[in-house]
Symmetry: C2
Subunit: 150 residues, 2 copies
DNA sequence: TTAATAAAAGACTTTTTTGTCCTTTATTAG
DNA sequence: CTAATAAAGGACAAAAAAGTCTTTTATTAA
């Protein structure tokens, strides 16, 4: 038995943690290198590099090569929501997929749990949608440090 | 990028579908063989066999070998909730784990999303907890058939 | 008591996810 | 222009999840 299915994939957890960290960092301006990001969020360095590259291609984060390079967000990126990040990595199925994995499940042809799950999916989406990266700018150093485990 | 993280693991989806199907079947009494279960929920035969064996060891389903054998639920098993099934397979992390995967995250040492996720986790748990297998007894044949895809 | 049936058990394979490493490309400072 | 720096890219490796197959065990009905 698997015995631990979290809400988000590991990849997505790292992505959210990195984006929150970058949001805080970018508030003071300046870029942050992969090594420092990995240290602060407690992830493998090469792995979060890959993840941020992907998010970069999708325009959710910016980066610059060379000395003084690194990852960063710009002013307008504060409006990016956690829902955007989750969608970019885990896709939409948490928000709109059938809880039982039935492809044909829909409003008009609902699985036995369809209507029951509707509210939950909407709540999850709305929470992630309303939580913008910009809102992490003014958080304390203590909360900042707590993007890390292990 | 992975691009599709559902709420439950595939194993758990099959398990829930099989248990709902068995709940309906067992209402009329009688046992159901693996082949028939697999057909009705649209899962690989050997795989759902494995899953049900696991659930059997944990006492969530009953089985009998030999001719006339198969899987079934008894009267009292109608009180089993979907939360019980999910816990048996995906564990508790959907209900109580940190959304960002931080092991030290807790009420007194919360991650930046801890309090926001609290309500959602509770809603998911309560929904699954209040949904008992027994409630699927009287559902129509149409809904029954719709435990299957692919 | 034997033949047939069906689940239990466990080894095995495939696929996906997670994670690493090495080379290339771009940028900057001297 | 050249060294050094840091991300991009892609091939590769390890681990976990999903899925298969074969043998064993239990049960039933003839």
């Amino acid at each position: 038995m698997p015995q631990t299915q979290p809400m988000f994939s590991r990849t997505c957890e790292y992505a959210i943690r990195a984006m929150i960290f970058l949001a805080q960092r970018s508030a003071q301006g300046g870029r942050t290198g992969i090594k420092e990001i990995a240290e602060h969020i407690g992830s493998p360095e090469a792995f979060i590099a890959k993840i941020l590259q992907g998010l970069g291609r999708q325009g959710l984060v910016r980066s610059a090569k060379g000395p003084t390079g690194g990852f960063y967000l710009e002013a307008g990126d504060g409006k990016t929501s956690l829902a955007d990040v989750v969608k970019a990595i885990d896709g939409e199925s948490l928000f709109s997929g059938c809880g039982l994995g039935l492809r044909e499940c829909s409003e008009t042809h609902p699985c036995p749990l369809h209507h029951e799950f509707k509210k939950i999916r909407r709540d999850i989406y709305q929470l992630l949608e309303k939580t913008k990266l910009g809102s992490f700018n003014e958080k304390t150093a203590e909360q900042l440090v707590f993007l890390k485990s292990r």
